[in-house]
Amino acid sequence: MGEIAIAALMDVLKLQNISASMMGALFGLFIGSTPGLTISLGMVLLLPLTFTLPPVTSFCLLLGLFSSGMTGGSISAILLNIPGTPSASATAIDGHEMAKKGRAGEALGTAITSSFFGGMFSLACLVLIAPTIAKVALKFGAPELFSLVLLGLTLICSFGQKSIIKGLISGVLGLIFMTVGLDPMVGLPRFTFGIVELQSGVSFLPVMIGLFAIPQILEGIVMGAEVIPEYRARLSGVLPRFRNILRLIKYKILGAVMGTAIGAIPGAGGPIAVFLSYDYAKKISKNKEEFGTGIPAGVAAPEAANNGMAGGAMIPMLTLGIPGDPITAILLGALMIQGLTPGPLLFQYNAQFVYSVFWAFFMANVLTLILAFSTIKLWVRILQVPKRVLLPIIGILCVIGSYALRNTFFDTATMLFFGLLGYFMKKYEFPVVPMLLAIVLGPALEQNLRMALIISQGNPSIFVTHPISLAFLIIAFFSFTGPLVKPLISGKLKTKNTSKS
């Protein structure tokens, strides 16, 4: 194992991989710090570049973006009170108050060091936990895998926060799109309408680009890009003192633990992790009343949670092939583009690659720390770049990115179709993430279901007679019914309390 880890390190330390990681980190800082541009969008825009790159270089690029995008989100949150990413929302509470008091540099320094701490902590958890989970998951057969994928899909409910029905419809539509193409078991064409390009199914890259990027372009240009206020004050004291870093260590540990744990639960989501860690930091602090008035502890906890989530979210993605959020769903897609199968088999057959991913994540965290400190003033200036300039560039990248997958304009048309669909889904409050998850997990769901039934000669009891499969089904049931039952229970409790009072 040690030899594999060293070989992986040597691989990651190649010049092209360091350059890729640095490029990803710079792009991530840009994406993260620009309000309205999400890390998912950055990922889908960079994906086409990975087609011709080796898998390790591709992951250095993408993980550089993932890690630094999370950190970059805090820049606009602190300086302008506009979170660059949803996960940076909690950072804005105290961070912006600090900026208003002329302590923007200190707030940014705290955010960057806390992000680094959170990222490294989650990496340690990933390295320690992932191989063990993968070893257990190796014993999974078709019934277990079906139940596991079903469990992953029930997370759809958690994404349909405004309306569970709409979340489920979005997921079912995603599954319907994935039935297009050759049948996975007998090779019969389904819903291809005689179009050759459809025989290999709906490619998920154009779908991802369409769902994430096109609605932003349409909204940004049609509705008019928002005017970002200018930050004029001088930035000083960004580099924190060692004493201050140590003073905040308990908040960083709290944030990192919560971020990693919540990140590892598929579907839990970044904003939950950061707000919970902010809330707990307030609870454990001696100066509770100072939270919200601009104190470094209010920045340290959510920022550590923010980056802690990154490593946490990679645990189910790498070990089980279950993405927990849109970013890891895109990373999963990147693995598939490279011809690698995510899940326990990845640890068995591509162990060196897995270790390279660990090292790449380590390098991404270190480079983010260095680049964020050294280029912070640049990002403050870039915040002022008008969106009307950025959106047309994103438009070109969408078109050529979807074209480059198979050198066919059919994929660009697919991208545009899903872009328009994504725009209307967003407008009418249908979440797009369930559709993305269904598209990524759909083929595995059908394949394992049918495979398990072939093994059992058509007897569906195979799913409940296998204990692990049964356990997954029970969890899936509660994960599915939980969000449906929760409002009923809380409603009853409310009525009880009202009648008592």
Binding site: L49, L168, I169, L175, V186, I400, A404, T412, L416, E429
Partner: protein, 156 residues
Amino acid sequence: MRKANIIISILLLVFAGYYAHLTTLLPRRDLPNTLGAAFMPRLLTACLTFLSVLLLLRDIFFADRIKYSTVTTSIKEAMGIVSLITVFVVYIYAMHYFGYIMVTPVFLVMMLLLAGSRKWWEVLLFSIIVTLAVYFLFHRLFRVPLPPGEIIGLEL
């Protein structure tokens, strides 16, 4: 939003019906004791129908329990969407014949004008610089294929 939800659920029901019809046309080549190619589509048809009916019933009978947000579409917004999509379609179609290098600056000029830029020299300069920058980054550095154009495209 209530009215929109009702219309959407009816449209989804129509789609589910069409999908169910397509499912009946799937050729049968089933192996013994296995589920055929139509099993999953049939299951999904049932799910979509059920959920669409649920959405429809919810918005008809329980509308008073739901907090709806207001969704409006102005003529300006509709025109903007149509113009943007048209620009995208024309860009993709034109690129097929004339290639990336020739068509992209024109696409960028149109996008920038739609986005509200009015300084001609800035728009032109920006379009050419971005086209070349993307070409060098994607094609030269990362070897990502860009559409060469079938009729008079430049050799990439």
